[in-house]
């Protein structure tokens, strides 16, 4: 399908008011599934983590995973929601081959958490308060692989179902309609998802890896002509699987819908699919408000009834809200907005924070993570989380530099060794012989040798031109294979020249 006609973004914003709504699915990282004892793990052989319950065999019954309920409550509390004291599950009925029972056990009119809000800052410094409609618990479906027919269900020769994912606990977080973001709507959408991801990762209730589908976003977009009260027809772009895609998809939908409305057309209410490679959305299935899932209370489960005590216990264990944590850290570290945003935008806040608490200076920690480590990750085409380097490695590296055992060049080499899996910083220093030579005897000998080889330079120094020492430092460093403290070498040169 070809790209649709698009209106220039700025022009679209000028003509129309943008309303967005976001549905984020968070896969919980509980040990077992939502309603059975099967392992909740990613990447195993198909259909190995299955049992009568998640396969929907005749007679099997669900039992709620208490840990998943706690995690859901924690998410609700982190989003400043009220927690339901008596919440029932509901069945959402529809036939689909990845849905073993042909109904999804979910929550309908009694979500575990409701009526919350989240402050989301964007680059301009503006902070949007996003209203949270609800956060509810549900189970994931299995995974279909369509063989033949370009991998789509239509036209496929046959399809394979993997039920390992069937019954994995999910929390679906639904915002209220977000008005007034204007040109910042695409950025706000991705900043919101980023913040949800940060929150669930900080609480360790989800692995929160978007590339694995741990966090998935459906983005609703509608436009209305300025001054019109009635909301426009919305589209729902499904499963946008990276922060960049969220921003791009929302931007694209704004431009696409604007072009249609401008030419007098109407928007079809439908789901759309985002194609990150070619940067466009294509039509999915029509979605009308009359979609009838025949929800009714799940009779096989008893209501979830958390007590005030239990809720308060969970609240007490909540980690600091990421936004206030950011404010605190920036001020503690004395960084400018730009410096701090560098860290946040590179997703390195946790790493830098951990490095600082292990004793390294904030500036040095920032420098290593956003500099050399990010560079290596980029070169190797990996996420920094995939590199074998930890905050304690970086803190050790800094300690070595401060005590003069490593200089900047040697430290880079030691880091490369750590990332190559050669062990800790000190182990790499030992095996690669990387320590700065601090033995004045050896350095003095090297200095004397260099001075003897360049008598003209020696004369200049004697004549008071101290900057000429640079040439000698170079020769000494070369002689010492870089493993010398340049400042000490300079001191020694001046000392010997004047002797």
């Amino acid at each position: 399908m070809a790209k649709a006609e698009l209106m220039d973004f700025d022009k679209a914003i000028e003509k129309f008011e943008v309303v967005i709504g976001l549905e984020v699915h968070v896969e919980l990282n509980t040990k077992t599934k939502m309603f059975c004892g099967c392992a909740n793990v990613f990447g195993n052989e198909p259909n190995t983590n299955v049992c009568p319950v998640c396969l929907g065999l005749p007679g099997a019954l669900p039992v709620v995973n208490g840990k998943a309920v706690e995690s859901s409550i924690a998410i609700g509390l982190a989003l400043n929601c009220s927690i339901a004291k008596d919440g029932r599950f509901a069945r959402k009925n529809y036939f689909y081959p990845d849905l073993s029972k042909n109904f999804q056990t979910s929550q309908y009119d009694e979500p575990i958490a409701y009526e919350g809000e989240l402050d989301v800052p964007v680059a301009s410094g503006k902070v949007f308060t996003v209203g949270i409609e609800r956060a509810h618990m549900e189970e994931d479906a299995g995974k279909l692989t369509h063989v033949g027919g370009a991998g789509r269900i239509q036209g496929a020769e046959y399809s394979l179902v993997d039920f390992n994912r069937a019954g994995v606990p999910l929390v679906e977080i639904v915002t209220k309609p977000i008005f007034g973001a204007e040109a910042e709507a695409p950025e706000l959408a991705s900043a919101y998802v980023r913040q949800i991801r940060e929150i669930v990762r900080a609480m360790d209730v989800s692995d929160a890896r978007m590339e694995r589908g741990n966090v998935r976003c459906d983005a609703n977009v509608s436009l209305r002509p300025r001054g019109q009260e009635k909301l426009g027809t919305r589209t729902e772009t499904k499963n946008v699987n990276s922060l960049r895609s969220v921003e791009n998809a929302v931007r694209y939908e704004i431009q696409r819908q604007a072009a249609i409305l401008e030419s007098g057309g109407t928007i079809t209410q439908e789901t759309r699919h985002w194609h990150e490679d070619k940067k466009y959305t294509s039509a999915g299935r029509p979605k009308s408000d009359a979609d009838d899932y025949r929800y009714f209370p799940e009779p096989d489960l008893v209501p979830v009834q958390p007590t005030d005590d239990e809720i308060e216990k969970i609240r007490a264990l909540l980690p600091e809200n990421p936004a206030s944590r950011r404010a605190r850290l920036q001020s503690d570290w004395g960084m400018s907005d730009n410096e701090f945003r560098d860290i946040v935008n590179s997703d390195l806040l946790d790493e830098v924070d951990a490095t600082v608490s292990l004793g390294a200076s904030p500036q040095a920690s920032k420098k290593w993570w956003t500099g050399e480590i990010a560079r290596i990750a980029n070169v190797e085409g990996k996420e920094f989380t995939e590199l074998a380097v930890t905050p304690s490695d970086v803190a050790e590296l800094e300690k070595m530099i401060e005590s003069g055992k490593l200089n900047d060049r040697l430290a880079r080499e030691a880091l490369a060794g750590v990332i190559a899996g050669e062990g800790s910083v000190s182990e790499v220093m030992n095996s690669r012989g990387l320590e700065v030579v601090s033995d004045d005897g050896a350095l003095t000998a090297a200095v004397d040798k260099a001075l003897a080889e360049q008598p003209d330079v020696l004369e200049k120094i004697k004549a008071g031109k101290e900057q000429a020492a640079g040439a000698i430092i170079g020769a000494v460093m070369k002689e010492m294979r870089g493993q010398a403290d340049a400042a000490r070498v300079r001191e020694l040169i001046l000392e010997r020249a004047k002797a």
Partner: protein, 499 residues
């Protein structure tokens, strides 16, 4: 003296412990009778000779070692074919599960195995337990041993005809609106539906999750109490199973003095619609109770008028969802339609061919009742009626310890008599349905011969969790009857296969 096969299970268990008979001998006796007589009664869908004899040999070893894990160790039992068994195909009376061998034992079956009770076979039922006569079984109806041209009740007609025809000394059934009690009433047996949640539903192929309950089908009240003690108890696999024990039913059944017992007669279930013979036997029992010192009070349950209507909305609604999993994807029958076999068309063709007319009728009814726009009017209103019925019971139990009524309006009717009139068929359950809607325990005990010299039943209802009180009252009434008749009702049952 009675033939061995006509003895109550409790007596057989005593003989086993005394070494007068072995479990293998007893099991062979019932297997031989079953293989010979099943062509007459069609009580069993599967007779499991090999496996039953193996289990009997195990039971004999337990008994020989003086280690009898239950009061009925060594006594063979018949199991309704909607309880999963790993050693016998489990069809729920449906073509869609023809030849389906489950991968796990239902909790009830596991408990029977642990109790050392050999499983003779799987008994017939209306398809997915939807019916009152077994005429909706995909594998032909079972026959009433009292008159082979008449229905044995339903849905558990296989178990009732097996017990009353002495093809099994004792059996397990399931009761959603009377499927244990009605068959017991029309075959002169005892059938009990415990309090909802007293017995695990794990592995019971669900009809209506909020109504289903497994219970005993036996020749006397003591046997029913003994069997409930074996199959009851909390099951971590069933969220709706009661956490607490309701006590030893067999102990309650020993307390059979009705003196001072406040017995409530439900006004709405003692007047219109009951056949004269059934009504006459009921009035005689009231007199017997009065003579024995019980205190008879009339109680008013005005909402019972709506019970059948509410039941036939709640049941189909839940069933339509519970039966969605029969889609040919993971197990069971698969029918390929002519032309392009898309998943929707395969599911539709399988369900079209696999389900019988009553199942389709109820799926359509339930789907409709849950549809948006109709939910409040149908499912919602039905749930309100359910609450009103619970309130009626609460008031009634303030005035009376137990409540009684005829179990059903008629004695056994002839095959085909009500087949074309679903409403007439549904009204059979008018007296039994309220207990399921309220989750309270109910039992049917024989109440003498009525129309056509066929058995009628007396139903005793007790408050939720007071199953013990129900067994005491049932044992009391049974004793009054046995004293009056000189023997148990079941002893009047004809000898099968004589002519």
């Amino acid at each position: 003296m009675n033939e061995l096969y006509r003895k109550p299970a409790s007596e057989l268990a005593q003989m086993l412990r005394n070494g007068e008979v072995s479990s293998v001998e007893l099991t062979k006796l019932f297997l031989d009778r079953s293989e010979k007589l099943n062509p007459l009664t069609n009580s069993y869908l599967v007779i499991n000779r090999e496996s039953a004899l193996e289990q009997a040999a195990n039971a004999d070893q337990m008994i020989a070692a003086g280690n009898t894990p239950s009061a009925l160790t060594g006594v063979p039992i018949a199991v309704k074919d909607n309880l999963t068994t790993t050693d016998a195909i489990t069809t729920a009376g449906s073509k869609i599960l023809e030849n389906y061998l489950p991968q796990y034992d239902s909790t009830v079956v596991s408990k029977l195995r642990a109790a050392g009770m050999p499983i003779l076979g799987k008994t017939n039922l209306d398809e997915f337990a939807m019916g009152s006569s077994t005429e909706f079984s995909a594998f032909g109806p079972s026959k009433n041993p009292w008159d082979l041209e008449r229905i044995p009740g339903g849905s558990g007609g296989g178990s009732s005809s097996a017990v009353s025809g002495f093809l099994a000394p004792i059996a397990v059934g399931s009761d959603t609106g009377g499927s244990i009690r009605f068959p017991a009433a029309v075959t002169g047996s005892v059938g009990a539906k415990p309090t909802y949640g007293a017995v695990s539903r794990y592995g019971l192929i669900a009809l209506a999750s909020s109504l289903d309950q497994v219970g005993p089908v036996t020749n006397d009240v003591n046997d029913a109490a003994l069997l409930q003690d074996i199959i009851a108890g909390h099951d971590p696999m069933d969220s709706t199973s009661l956490p607490e024990s309701l006590g030893q039913m067999a102990e309650f059944a020993k307390n059979n003095d009705v003196k001072g017992l406040r017995v409530g007669v439900i006004k709405q279930l003692a007047s219109d619609g009951f056949h004269p013979g059934v009504k006459a036997r009921f009035d005689e029992s009231i007199q017997l109770l009065t003579d024995a010192g019980a205190q008879i009070v009339e109680v008013d349950c005005p909402s019972f008028e709506y019970a059948v209507s509410a039941y036939y909305l709640i049941l189909p609604a839940e069933a339509s969802s519970n039966l969605a999993r029969f889609d040919s994807v993971r197990f069971g029958k698969r029918v390929l339609p002519e032309g392009n076999p898309t998943i929707e068309r395969v599911m539709a063709a399988t369900r079209e061919a696999g389900f019988g007319p009553e199942v389709k009728r109820r799926i359509i009814l339930g789907t409709y009742a849950l549809s948006s726009g109709y939910y409040d009017a149908y499912y919602g209103s039905a749930q309100k009626v359910r609450t009103l019925i619970q309130q009626d019971f609460e008031k009634a139990f303030a005035a009376a310890d137990v409540l009684i009524s005829p179990t059903a309006p008629t004695t056994a009717f002839k095959f085909g008599e009500k087949l074309d009139d679903p409403l007439a068929m549904y009204l059979n359950d008018i007296a039994t349905i309220p207990a399921n809607l309220a989750g309270i325990p109910g039992i049917s005990v024989p109440n003498g011969l009525a129309e056509n010299d066929l058995p009628s039943g007396l139903q005793i209802l007790a408050p939720a969790m007071k199953d013990g009180l129900m067994y005491s009252a049932a044992a009391g009434i049974e004793k009054l009857h046995t004293d009056k008749w000189g023997k148990r009702m079941i002893d009047f049952a004809p000898e099968l296969g004589v002519n």
